[in-house]
Amino acid sequence: MTNERVTAQILAQFPQLEKDPSPVKDYPTLRLPDAASLLPVISHLKDSLGFSYLDMVTAVDWKGPVDPAGYVREERAHPFQAKPAAAAAAKPLPGAPYRDAFTLVYALSRFANPLKIFLKLDVPREQPRAASLARIFRTADWQEREVFDLFGIFFDGHPDLRRILTLESLQGHPLRKDYAHAEDRFDR
């Protein structure tokens, strides 16, 4: 009930938003039409509707099923066992919305009348960029660094966009579906 009221409130304020066709189950999910509307919508949610808590920032790579050949190392043959078959690349499945884009997923919460809301924003796989939320929520700092590290999405206006979990010297962004491991000094 509250879900629908809040969704209607946001949609009245920002008519360019739309309900997501594949929502996060049990939660109101809205889709942002373009990167420009991200900051105004988030600011409005925080200042006017009391969503003062940024729960989660993450991303999804929609390129297609993951290809493990790029990063699964060949296992050493055991003398008494047959050589394990190389992991086969999964086949694309019908019905899955594969496309050439990343989806940024934001979750916001409020403490009074607890409610969680999800926002999604598609960014192209070539030159993925979005505005940084670090000026609105300090927690976006590390979460966006993680998304940058693992997906290679750039956040404009981020105070300190560096890798956070992986090595500075790592080539590529591991959570992309087409990630292939480049040999480094740890392989030898």
Partner: protein, 375 residues
């Protein structure tokens, strides 16, 4: 006798000093490095450096079936594997649209509360060591051992249980387990008062932690803190209350909060939470429903394309799992909202202006587990 006048402050050569805290230091509870720049005793800059334990669990999930992912979730926060299992299974159940039977729900609540006690006991023991009190560690681990024994009885493992499954739990408990759990609770209740006399109200401990590392409510929410770290600053946000899962709405418990948000409050919130866990456990054992422990779930879990998010109140905070399915047997994307990761991010701010010796007290009070920070 040296009669030369002492040099005035302006003549003294002062320099900033860079100090590495960690990566291998007992007080970092794992492999965490914090690059500290200090001026005398005062910290002027703190740069947490994480990722030493990064295993790419989110990527590994993409090539494993849902059942195999539960095993990986054990390895996230290895001090509270039960709640990790639960968060992942709840997200997968939402994707599938199945619900665990009543008995399984009650058992899940029991396991999670036992896990909370075990996890908070680790903090109680190791935080004492961080501050310089060694005895509480022995007391805390003595009690934790009993919880480990209870977990071993039901799952066969002492740390990575893989007990909670999609649609229920793996094994039923018998009357002996229930009796031993009751026995433990009776034994444990007076121990809580003992901890208070042993550590909480120890004047030296209070001196080291009262008014140190104060986090305001606004700042805590701004940095995405959750769990006891958030509640010690004021906001009474608890996922068990805000969005009850597994029938938490049926059990009596108070959401423990404090006002000042200093190290002592963060520590003592956990001690008081253990008492609430005991209350919940007693209610669960009193009204343990009969029936099935596992819902009907297909052998190969293949949810329809869709997305789900489930979050539970773990020992360290609001643990969330975000799953995306493309209709295949493996998650298309699995993301863990790790409370320790976010709790740690405030370090760069609250360290500033604190004394070097207090850094350990602040870091310990946040109760991080690096397995979850780095994933």
């Amino acid at each position: 006798m040296n009669t030369a006048p002492a040099p005035s402050r302006s003549e003294l050569k002062t320099d900033q000093l860079f100090v590495n805290l960690g990566p291998q230091h007992p007080s970092t509870h794992g492999v965490l490095r914090v690059g500290l720049t200090i001026e005398g005793e005062i910290i002027v800059k703190a740069e947490p450096d994480i990722g030493y334990l990064h295993r790419g669990i989110e990527k590994l999930c993409e090539t494993r079936s849902y059942g195999q992912c539960i095993v990986l979730s054990d390895r996230l926060d290895y001090c509270s594997a039960m709640t990790n299992n639960l968060a992942f299974c709840l997200a997968a159940e939402k994707l599938l649209g199945v619900h665990a039977p009543q008995r399984a729900d009650a058992l899940r609540v029991a396991m999670c509360e036992l896990q909370r006690i075990a996890s908070h006991l680790i903090l109680l023991g190791t935080y004492g060591i961080d501050i310089g009190a060694f005895t509480p560690f022995l007391y805390a681990f003595r009690e934790r051992e009993m919880v480990m024994d209870l977990f071993e009885m039901v799952s066969g493992a002492r740390l990575t249980y893989n007990y909670i499954r999609i649609g229920g739990v793996r094994a039923d408990v018998d009357a002996q387990w229930v009796a031993r759990t009751r026995e433990f609770l009776e034994y444990f209740k007076p121990r809580l008062d003992e901890y208070d006399t042993l550590l909480s109200y120890n004047p030296i401990f209070i001196d080291r932690t009262r008014g140190v590392g104060v986090i305001s409510a606004e700042k805590a929410a701004d940095y995405g803190l959750s769990g006891p770290n958030l509640r010690a600053s004021g906001p009474a946000y608890d996922a068990r209350r805000a969005e009850p899962h597994c029938g938490y709405e049926k059990y009596p418990f108070d959401v423990i909060t404090a006002e000042s948000g200093d190290c002592w409050d963060r520590y003592h919130c956990r001690v008081r939470e253990m008492r609430q866990s005991v209350r919940i456990l007693e209610a669960v054992l009193d009204g343990l429903p009969g029936g099935e422990i596992l819902a009907k779930v297909p052998k190969i879990v293949k949810p329809a394309p869709g997305e789900s998010y489930a979050h539970v109140e773990g020992a360290r905070g609001d643990l969330g799992v975000y799953l995306v399915s493309d209709g295949g047997p493996n998650p298309f994307r699995a993301h863990v909202r790790a409370p320790s990761f976010l709790n740690l991010s405030i370090l760069q701010e609250i360290f500033l202006g604190q004394r070097m010796a207090d850094a350990i007290a602040i870091l310990g009070s946040l109760d991080i587990v690096l397995g979850e920070v780095d994933r």
